[in-house]
Amino acid sequence: MSRWRGAGLVAGREIRERVRTRTFRVTTLVLVLAALAGVIIPALVGDDGPSRSTVAVAGGPAPLPEALRAAGAAQDRTIDVRRLGEAEAVRQAASGEVDAAVVAGPTGPVRVVVEDDIPDDLRGIIAQAVAGARVGDALARSGLPPREVAEVVAPPDLEVQARGARADVDGGDLAVGFIVSLVLYLALLFSGIIVATGVAEEKSTRVSEVLLASLRPSELLLGKVAGIGLVSIGQLAAAAAPALIAALALDAVDVPAATAGTILWGLVWFFAGYALYGAAYGALGALVGRQQEVGQATAPLGLLLVCGYLASTFSAGDLEAWWVRPLSLLPPFAPMMMPMRIAGDAVSTGEVLAALALTLVAAAGLIALGARVYRAGITGTGPRTHLREALLATPRRASS
């Protein structure tokens, strides 16, 4: 029997048995619903739009209310204006019925009455509006036609040009990077634990001894890791597809430019990272005496994963920081960190490929090493086999 047929049969069994379980159906359903909710709920709730303020105006130049509205709109704030007498304006401001009362003359200081405090942007809007209105008023009195006055005093559209080093980092792209590295972290963690639990089960039920009569340890480990990995990918795809369709149907998300590339790379990184972590989880799973110890035995791998994820999250703050490049090249961290760098367009394709190659080489080495630890672990029937013993050349003797 060829090496691949053995691994293929093992993988086939993993897929069939996993898909058949209740847990699988429930988690898939939860994932699908969560992804759908992530798309649909923001679409239903919608954008609250610009914030709103009510301002009472007493005195001041005639164009002041219009100038307040225009200045507000320029800063994404809708201003409702009430023209009142001074006493009434101050009363409403003091009681909080309006956000501010503006008491102004044609020139000189402007009194702004508020209940407690005034937002900075509203203060700016009022100052700008009063200044503009006074200029407009003066220009109108000097004979300029109202249309030209309006053109002069209206806040202009600003065209912002960023020229700094991080100017081309788009928030939307980084958000995609966040999501991809979070999903990778969770998917690697959960699939890894499933691998370790499965191996521990085979060990504690002695199925592994029967299997080793027909299969090499590397075939067993490879088949198991591959089968569970394919199920995980399938599950992610099952969750992503309805959400994507819903997003397109609802036109809910502006798809950031980096999305497609980052997601595709994310898939590649799942394969690479999973080959690495799956092998490691399988090997550690073979060391435990009872299935309940799997969590404890594999905790170091969970720690590595969470470190990679956190490093990826922090790197979004400054993708050019000195530590980002070296850490993202290290196989244990690359699967979570590279998608963020790719999303932020802060890495060359050559570097990504180099990190990928490093991770795959490490994964191949770990599968070989894992198979050895696996075999040594499987044959140890005691409470717990230690990694160091398992790595030493001669497998442990078993007691009768």
């Binding site: 029997m1 089960e201 002695r206 001894e209 029967v210 009768s400």
Partner: protein, 280 residues
Amino acid sequence: MSVPPGQVVGLLGPNGSGKTTAMRIVFGVIDADRGEVRYRGRPVGPEVRRRFGYMPEERGLYPDMRVRDQLVYFARLAGLGRERAGRRADALLERLGVAERADEPVQALSLGNQQRVQLAAALVHEPEALVLDEPFSGLDPVAVEALSEIVSEAAREGRLVLFSSHQLDLVEGLCESVAVIDHGHLVMSGRVADLKEASGRRELRVDLEAVNGVPWDRGMEGVRVVGSEADGVRLALDPGVDALAVLDAARGAGRVRDFALEQPTLAELFLEAVGRGRGR
């Protein structure tokens, strides 16, 4: 030790003597410190092992997997095609009387039925050799009888059959040959009948309704009283002593209710071999 085809060979030894270890070495689960496993004169490798069937002690099955799926899976791992694996699984389940449980997970079955499925898993790829580790532990007499029948049949079909046990009374009726190991060393092996013969020991048990309390059992040459139990007096006879003459002496002393001429039991040979004779 050797396991000839067509015979059921028992691998015996006290707990911790190395029975399971020996079997694991056969299947390459662990490496031997010394020695070698040969099959038809050649060292056993992965290809040969695939033609062996192994039933580890207890379990050895996926608890959540359905019975039939499990058998098909093991058969296919051993190289059978999908269809043939399915046919073999069905035939064995039928034969072992668990066909109606084929679609249930193994853990839903009783211990006896689980062990039947385990035996089926060891047999499903029609192995040339069958290695069973404590196949009867924890089973009721009915299940023991059923499994013994299948094990014997496997041997009659020309397979090598090796099984381990520390329940010697079970082994006695089932295996023609035994190998006894202790602390990893072979201390006795051969056909059971030959071993009993070679021990040269015979015991005459006589249950006598004594008429007058004459001590008939004393003073005969080559005859030793080894015990007096509820079912009569036990006399150890040296080689050459005529058992019938001893029985006649008993008949002269009273009415003989029951008697038997017994060879040592396997348990006695076993205890003697591992150096812990009962000392009577």
